[in-house]
């Protein structure tokens, strides 16, 4: 199959998935007693409620309602956020998303930058002390409650050592760089505010590390096992028989092959990071969609919870798609199927 066909096929396969996702979110929205919950707050009067029910066709039979629901989604009408003073959910998401994006991308970079070398070391030193150490470290990563880890990091790096700020994107006394992308690191550079850039970077460190810890572990484990797997392959023996040095064998022949499966995991990790942001952002007072969703939960603001979920799922689905396509593109052996 050609790459183009493969891409088209994957995109088409996305349709049932997206329908399924909306079906699930629709079902969940209708499970909470009040289908109008997305548009009303506890202060909405009965009269107003009736109007809303009519406006959003909530009195129609369920299948019809589902179509209206999809229609609303397509028009980015995700309802109003009760926990945000009734602002539209889409507006809230747009406001908070850049912070989350900045955090997750930074974590992703940390994940790869630390996880891959660790995995390689672990594979090369299999069953030796460095391997045990890396494995223990990475298993710690998947075992640690991320929200607790955040607290401990704060306790150590802020309270005890006073090296890093407690939370937030910038100090309370510093104003945000002019809004262009919403990513402070980029915006501050664009505006030439080098100091803001550094300060924002320092603020990013702890939450990004905290968030990346889990996936760093997963990536280093994946890297280790795919590296080990690759090292048993026949072509490695061939490379050695050619007289190549061990370094060349590992870094030229094994690494390329072992990296490909790791990219897929990295793609999955991105979705995981987004959801991990729920907990991390809460701990680090990071004004992103994760913290927004937790606030929404604590006030049963269902429209916001749903909006958050849909956004995350859609991003997740699309990153996976992109990663799969990339994978197919990178690995000459992959048969598109």
């Amino acid at each position: 199959m050609k790459l183009r066909d493969y891409v088209i096929r994957r995109l088409l396969l996305l349709i049932p998935v997206l329908i399924g996702i909306t079906f699930i979110t629709f079902t969940l929205s209708h499970m909470i007693g009040d289908p109008a919950a997305a548009w009303v707050t506890d202060k909405t009067t009965e009269q107003r409620r009736a109007i809303i029910i009519q406006q959003h066709h909530l009195d129609e039979p369920l299948p019809i309602q589902y179509l209206y629901y999809i229609n609303d989604l397509v028009h980015l009408d995700l309802g109003n956020s009760a926990s945000e003073g009734g602002r539209s959910v889409a507006e809230c998401l747009a406001q908070y998303f850049p912070a989350t994006l900045e955090l997750t991308v930074a974590s992703m970079i940390l994940c790869l930058a630390i996880g891959i070398p660790l995995g390689i070391i672990s594979a090369i030193k299999k069953d030796k002390l460095p391997d045990h150490a890396v494995r223990l470290f990475s298993l710690m990563g998947v075992s640690v409650p991320i929200f607790w880890f955040g607290l401990i990091l704060q306790y150590i790096f802020y309270l005890q050592l006073d090296l890093l700020p407690l939370g937030g994107r910038l100090p309370l006394t510093m104003s945000a760089p002019p809004h262009v992308t919403g990513l402070y690191l980029i915006d501050s550079l664009l505006a030439g505010q080098i100091n803001t850039f550094w300060v924002a970077l320092v603020h990013l460190l702890m939450p990004a590390f905290c968030l990346s810890f889990t996936y760093l572990a997963i990536i280093s484990r994946m890297m280790r096992s795919s590296m080990l797997e690759t090292m048993t392959q026949d072509f490695i023996r061939t490379a050695r028989a050619k007289g190549l040095s061990e370094k060349a064998v590992i870094f030229k022949h094994a690494l390329r092959n072992a990296l490909t499966p790791t990219t897929t995991v990295a793609g999955l990790a991105f979705g995981g990071l987004l959801s991990g942001a729920v907990l991390t952002e809460t701990i680090f007072m990071w004004p992103g969609i994760g913290r927004y969703s937790v606030r929404a939960i604590s006030s049963t603001d269902f429209a916001s919870i749903m909006g958050f979920t849909l956004l995350v799922v859609v991003i997740y689905v699309f990153t996976n798609l992109i990663v799969d396509i990339l994978y197919a593109y990178l690995d000459p052996r992959v048969k598109f199927g």
Binding site: M140, L151, Y155, T282, S298, M306, V312, N320
Partner: protein, 308 residues
């Protein structure tokens, strides 16, 4: 592990058929188990994991004998006490002894972990085995369904389900089961797909075995090991996610000895009473680490490439 075989060929064929003696009958089984144990004991990390899990189980079982105070015993005169001889991990904001509460909390965590994982395995295995074995339309349909579930990051899906079901441990467990089964379905299906191609399945079909027999006798036992590994590690993951959900407000009731809740209650006092959040967090970390270490070790043992 070829057997010395001269007796096979050179005669001395014992009349009297298969031996009835138990130990001889099960010699191979015993040897298998011994072999696995030996492999296992060679891995220090896996052993550490096992020790942790066993300790954890013992703690959960004998909680009332170990814990100096009750799970919900509160001394209203001793709020937020730092660790001391009387309360080795200190007390919380309701005067509960944190040490005792952590011990009792292991029961909750185990209960959640085992219920979620076992139900997810049963459901997932059923769907996965059927899907993988039959393939075709059924497979296509079931995999699309799991696709949809897997399109959600697990914490997020569990979160919305909890949000719409309402707050209780039972709902958290239900939500997590809903979140977890598709992964097992996928795993088992993958196994089924690869095992389906093995010749012994074909051999079974050639001797007229029914689908039911093939699935239960041949497919299931052979797809067992990755599931066991996954399940072990998932016990840790489930405990972790449950604690996460508890942290953001789903799950345990106020005052209940549950680790996630204890952390979230303690978080507000991190500045001046850090023990309140630290110890329950450590408990989660250690237990999950135990399951993960053990699972990781199991994976190595059950991986045929690692054998011998």
């Amino acid at each position: 592990m070829a057997v010395e075989t001269q007796d096979v060929i050179t005669g001395q064929k014992k009349k009297g058929s298969i031996i009835k003696n138990w130990s001889e009958k099960n010699e191979s089984r015993i040897k298998e188990i011994k072999h696995s144990i030996r492999l296992f004991t060679k891995s220090p990390l896996a052993m550490l994991g096992l020790v942790i899990i066993v300790m954890f189980l013992l703690v959960a079982i004998f909680a009332p004998y170990i814990a100096p105070y009750g799970a919900e015993e509160r001394n209203w005169k001793e709020l937020k006490q730092p660790p001391s001889e009387k309360h080795i991990f200190g007390t919380d904001d309701t005067g509960g002894d944190i040490f005792s509460r952590i011990i009792y909390g292991s029961r909750t965590s185990l209960y959640i972990g085992f219920s979620v994982v076992s139900v997810a395995i049963i459901l997932g295995t059923l769907v996965g085995a059927i899907s993988g074995y039959y393939g075709g339309k059924i497979d296509e349909l079931m995999m699309r369904v799991t696709d949809i579930f897997l399109a959600f990051p697990s914490l997020v899906l569990a979160m919305v389900i909890c949000a719409s079901l309402g707050r209780s441990i039972e709902n958290v467990m239900l939500a997590m089961t809903i979140v977890w089964w598709p992964a097992y379905a996928r795993l088992v299906r993958g196994q089924a797909l690869s095992i389906r191609e093995r010749k012994y399945i074909e051999a079974a079909r050639a001797i007229g075995a029914s689908d039911f027999r093939i699935i239960t006798k041949h497919l299931a036992p052979n797809s067992f090991s990755p599931i066991i590994v996954q399940a072990t590690m998932d016990l840790g993951n489930v405990i972790l996610v449950a604690a996460g959900l508890s942290f953001i407000g789903f799950g345990a009731k106020p005052g209940q000895a549950e680790w996630g809740r204890m952390i979230s209650e303690g978080a507000a006092y991190m500045l001046n009473q850090p023990w309140m959040a630290t110890f329950p967090g450590l408990a989660i970390l250690i237990v999950c680490l135990g399951f993960n270490l053990f699972g990781d070790g199991l994976r190595d043992i059950l991986d045929p490439r690692q054998r011998r």
